[in-house]
C-alpha cells in the first residue's frame, strides 16, 4: 500500500467521520488503519462536525438585535406611559356600554363576545379616558356590583360642564347619590350611581387651591358641622335632605276619621302625636298630622275629594305582640290573623284598624334576618306580583333588593327593597293580604331628578316638583301599581 501523506491520511479520517454523522468516536478502530499520530486530532475532528455555520451566527445575531430594539421600544413605552385603567365587571355589559354612551358620551373602541353571548371584554373611551369592562363571570369570581350588593369603588370623572353631564346621566338612567354642588376643595361635583351599581363622581374644577387651603376649608366645614348650629340647616349638606326625625320612607296615611285614628294609635300602639294642622273653620278635619311610633314617623291627613282614602299595610315591630294585639283590638281594631308563631320565624298577628290600615304586629326571633333593617313601622306592599314592583323601585328610586323568599312556583312570599335608609317590605297578594295601594313620603337628595326618573320608570305625575311652604321641595307621582309617592328634598326647617 502506497505511503500516504499525513494530510491525506487525516482527510480520509475526516471523510469517514463526516460521512457517518452518528458514528461513535472511532478511537480504537481508527488507531489501526491510520497513523497513530492522528489519534489526538480525532476528538477535534469529531467535535468539528458540529461546527456552526458562520453566517448562521451572524444572521441570528442580527435577528436578535432587531427584536431587542423592538423590545427596547416596547419597554420604553411601558415605562413611561403607565396608566391605571378601571375594569368594570357588569351584569349586562352591552346595556352598560349603551348607558355610558348616552350618559357620558362614551365611544366604544371594541368588544369581544363570548360564545354564550356575554361580553368577554370591551373598551370604551370617555373624554380620552379608557375604561375596560366585561360581563360578570361569577364562575371565575369576576362579579358585578349587582351580584356583590354594591361596589366600594368610586370613579371620578372630570368633565367640562358638570351640571350638563349630570342632567344627561340622570336622563340616561343614573341615580343621584349626592346632587351637584360647589365643594370646599374647589370642585363643583355630584355623585351618581349608574344602573349597573357603579358610583361616579362627576366633577368640574372651579378653583385651583393649594392642599393647605383645602385642608383649612375642610377643618372649617367640620367645625361648623360639629357645632350643629341651627342656622346651618339652610346649607345643602348631603345628609340634610331628610327632615329631622324622618327617614327616607314615611307612610302617609290618607284616611277617613284621621282625628279618631290618632286616638286609636295612641291607645293601641303608644303613639306620640307630634304635629297637627287642622282645616281652618273645620276643627275635626286634619290637613296634616304627624305621629311617632317607636323610632318611626307616620304622616296622615283626612281623605277628601282630591285625595281619596289610601290606607296602608304596615309591619309594626313590638316586644310583646300578644299584648299589643289585644290592646289594638280593645281600641277598636278588627283582628284577621291571630297572634301565632309564624313559619318565617317571628311571632305575630294582624289587625285592620278603624281607618282601614292593616297592621302586622310582630316580634322577630333574634338572629332571624327576615325583617332585618325594619324599623318600628315599615310599610308593606301586597301587589298582585312583587317582581315588577321591585323593578320599578330600582329604576325609579335606585331601590336595592335586599331580601327575597320565593317558592319554586315563582310566588314571592316576602321581599325587601332598600331605598335610602329605609326598607319597604312586600309579598305577592294572597289570602287576606290583598293589594292596597298606599301613599308614601320619600326623601331623596334631589327631588327634581328622582321625580323625572320615576316618570321615566313608568310613574304618572300627580303634582310637579315645587318648593313647599313647609320646607320641602317636592312633587308627587303615582306608580304603575297605584301607590302614590311624594318625592321630597328637605330644603329648610320651618317653625310652625
Amino acid at each position: 500500500m502506497a505511503k500516504q501523506t499525513p494530510s491525506e491520511q487525516l482527510d480520509k479520517l475526516v471523510e469517514r467521520l463526516l460521512g457517518r454523522r452518528d458514528a461513535p468516536l472511532p478511537r480504537s478502530e481508527a488507531a489501526r488503519p491510520f497513523d497513530t499520530r492522528l489519534v489526538p486530532v480525532l476528538e477535534v475532528i469529531n467535535d468539528l462536525r458540529d461546527l456552526p455555520r458562520p453566517d448562521f451566527k451572524v444572521r441570528l445575531k442580527a435577528d436578535l438585535e432587531r427584536r431587542a430594539s423592538m423590545a427596547s421600544t416596547a419597554k420604553a413605552v411601558s415605562e413611561f406611559r403607565t396608566t391605571a385603567t378601571p375594569y368594570l365587571s357588569i351584569k349586562g355589559a352591552a346595556a352598560a356600554i349603551e348607558f355610558y354612551k348616552k350618559a357620558f358620551g362614551a365611544t366604544e373602541a371594541f368588544r369581544l363576545m363570548q360564545p354564550d353571548g356575554r361580553v368577554g371584554h370591551a373598551e370604551i373611551d370617555i373624554g380620552g379616558a379608557k375604561i375596560m369592562l366585561a360581563d360578570e363571570f361569577p364562575e371565575i369570581g369576576f362579579r358585578s356590583p349587582e351580584s356583590l350588593g354594591g361596589s366600594p369603588i368610586v370613579i371620578h370623572l372630570d368633565v367640562e360642564d358638570v351640571d350638563a353631564v349630570a342632567r344627561r346621566a340622570v336622563a340616561a338612567g343614573a341615580t343621584v347619590v349626592r346632587p351637584v354642588a360647589d365643594q370646599f376643595y374647589g370642585d363643583r361635583s355630584g355623585q351618581f350611581r349608574d344602573p349597573f351599581g357603579y358610583t361616579w363622581v362627576l366633577s368640574t374644577r372651579k378653583e385651583e387651591l393649594s392642599p393647605e387651603e383645602m385642608q383649612r376649608r375642610n377643618d372649617e366645614a367640620s367645625r361648623q358641622q360639629s357645632s350643629g348650629s341651627s342656622q346651618e340647616k339652610e346649607s345643602p349638606v348631603a345628609a340634610k335632605f331628610i327632615r329631622e326625625g324622618f327617614h327616607s320612607i314615611t307612610p302617609y296615611l290618607i284616611i277617613p276619621e284621621a282625628s279618631r285614628w290618632i286616638d286609636f294609635v295612641k291607645h293601641a300602639f303608644g303613639a306620640e302625636e307630634r304635629f297637627r294642622v287642622k282645616r281652618p273653620g273645620a276643627e275635626n278635619i286634619i290637613m296634616h298630622a304627624e305621629v311617632k311610633i317607636g323610632d318611626s314617623m307616620i304622616e296622615l291627613a283626612d281623605a277628601n275629594a282630591q285625595f281619596p282614602p289610601t290606607p296602608a299595610a304596615m309591619v309594626l315591630h313590638v316586644d310583646d305582640p300578644d299584648a299589643v294585639f289585644d290592646r289594638a283590638v280593645a281600641a277598636g281594631a278588627t283582628p284577621f290573623q291571630p297572634v301565632a308563631d309564624q313559619d318565617y320565624g317571628a311571632r305575630g298577628g294582624s289587625v285592620r284598624d278603624i281607618s282601614g290600615n292593616s297592621w302586622h304586629i310582630s316580634k322577630p326571633t333574634p338572629g332571624n334576618t327576615i325583617f332585618e333593617g325594619f324599623r318600628s313601622v315599615t310599610p308593606y306592599l301586597n301587589p298582585l306580583r312583587v317582581e315588577p314592583v321591585i323593578e320599578f323601585l330600582q329604576k325609579a328610586f335606585g331601590g336595592e333588593e335586599v331580601y327575597r323568599a320565593q317558592s319554586p312556583d315563582g310566588v314571592i312570599h316576602h321581599a325587601q327593597v332598600r331605598i335610602g335608609d329605609s326598607i319597604i317590605g312586600m309579598g305577592d297578594a294572597h289570602g287576606p293580604y290583598q293589594p292596597m295601594p298606599c301613599t308614601l313620603h320619600l326623601y331623596v337628595p334631589d327631588a327634581d331628578s328622582i321625580y323625572n326618573q320615576a316618570l321615566r320608570a313608568g310613574a304618572t305625575s300627580i303634582q310637579p316638583v315645587a318648593d313647599q311652604p313647609y320646607g320641602d321641595r317636592s312633587g308627587g307621582v303615582v306608580d304603575p301599581f297605584g301607590n302614590r309617592w311624594f318625592i321630597a328634598t328637605h330644603i329648610r326647617d320651618v317653625q310652625f
Binding site: S7, L10, V14, V41, V44, L48, D50, F56, L60
Partner: protein
C-alpha cells in the same frame, strides 16, 4: 480552561441586558457557541440545530426578566431553555409524523457532559482565530459540509493544498485546545 468569565462579570452583562435589551448582544456573543454545542449533539441535523439554537436565544431575550440571579450560571438557564425546546420539538415531530425517531428523545443528560460542551464551544471559537485560509477550509469542510474538490474549486487551489490547509488547521486547533487543559488524548498515544 476558563471560558466563562467570572460570575460578577456575567451578572453585569445580564443586568445590562435586562435594563436595555440591546445589550443582549453581549450575552449572545458570550454564549452562542456553547448553546449551539449543547443543541447540536442532541438533534439530528444542522437545520434542526440552527432552529433550536435560534429558538433558545429568542426565548432568552423575551424572558430575560424571568432569569433570577441565584448564583446559577446564565449558561445553565440557557441549557434549561434549550432542553425544553428540544423536548418540545421532539414531541411536535412525534405528533406530526407519528415517528418519534427523527430526533433523539429529550434526555437532558444524554451523552454530553458540561466539560465536553465547553470544549466544543471553545473549539468553535478557536476556529475563528485560525489563519484565514485554514479557517475558510475548516468552515467549508465541516460547517458547510463541502468536499475537498468543491473547496479546491471554490478557493482555486489544488486538492492537495486544501488537504494540507485542513491538516494544519486541525493540528493548530488541537494544539490550542490542548493548551492548559488535560492531555487526555495525547496521553493515550503511548
Amino acid at each position: 480552561m476558563k471560558v466563562r468569565k467570572n460570575e460578577a462579570n456575567e451578572r453585569l452583562l445580564v443586568e445590562a441586558a435586562r435594563r436595555d435589551p440591546a445589550r443582549f448582544a453581549d450575552l449572545y456573543e458570550e454564549h452562542f457557541e456553547r448553546v449551539y454545542a449543547f443543541v447540536a449533539c442532541r438533534v439530528q441535523d444542522r437545520p434542526a440545530a440552527e432552529d433550536v439554537t435560534s429558538d433558545v436565544f429568542h426565548q432568552a431575550l423575551a424572558n430575560l426578566k424571568n432569569y433570577e440571579w441565584r448564583g446559577v450560571p446564565f449558561a445553565a438557564w440557557l441549557y434549561r431553555i434549550a432542553a425544553n425546546a428540544i423536548a418540545d420539538r421532539w414531541q411536535r415531530l412525534a405528533r406530526e409524523s407519528g415517528n418519534p425517531s427523527q430526533d433523539d428523545p429529550p434526555d437532558e443528560h444524554k451523552g454530553v457532559n458540561p466539560e465536553q460542551i465547553e470544549r466544543r464551544a471553545q473549539l468553535f471559537r478557536l476556529v475563528r482565530t485560525l489563519p484565514s485560509e485554514q479557517r475558510r477550509v475548516i468552515e467549508l469542510r465541516f460547517a458547510e459540509g463541502k468536499s475537498i474538490r468543491e473547496i479546491a474549486s471554490e478557493l482555486k487551489r489544488t486538492a492537495g493544498a486544501i488537504k494540507q490547509l485542513q491538516f494544519r488547521g486541525i493540528q493548530t486547533l488541537r494544539a490550542q485546545l490542548g493548551k492548559g487543559t488535560r492531555k487526555k488524548l495525547g496521553g493515550s498515544n503511548g
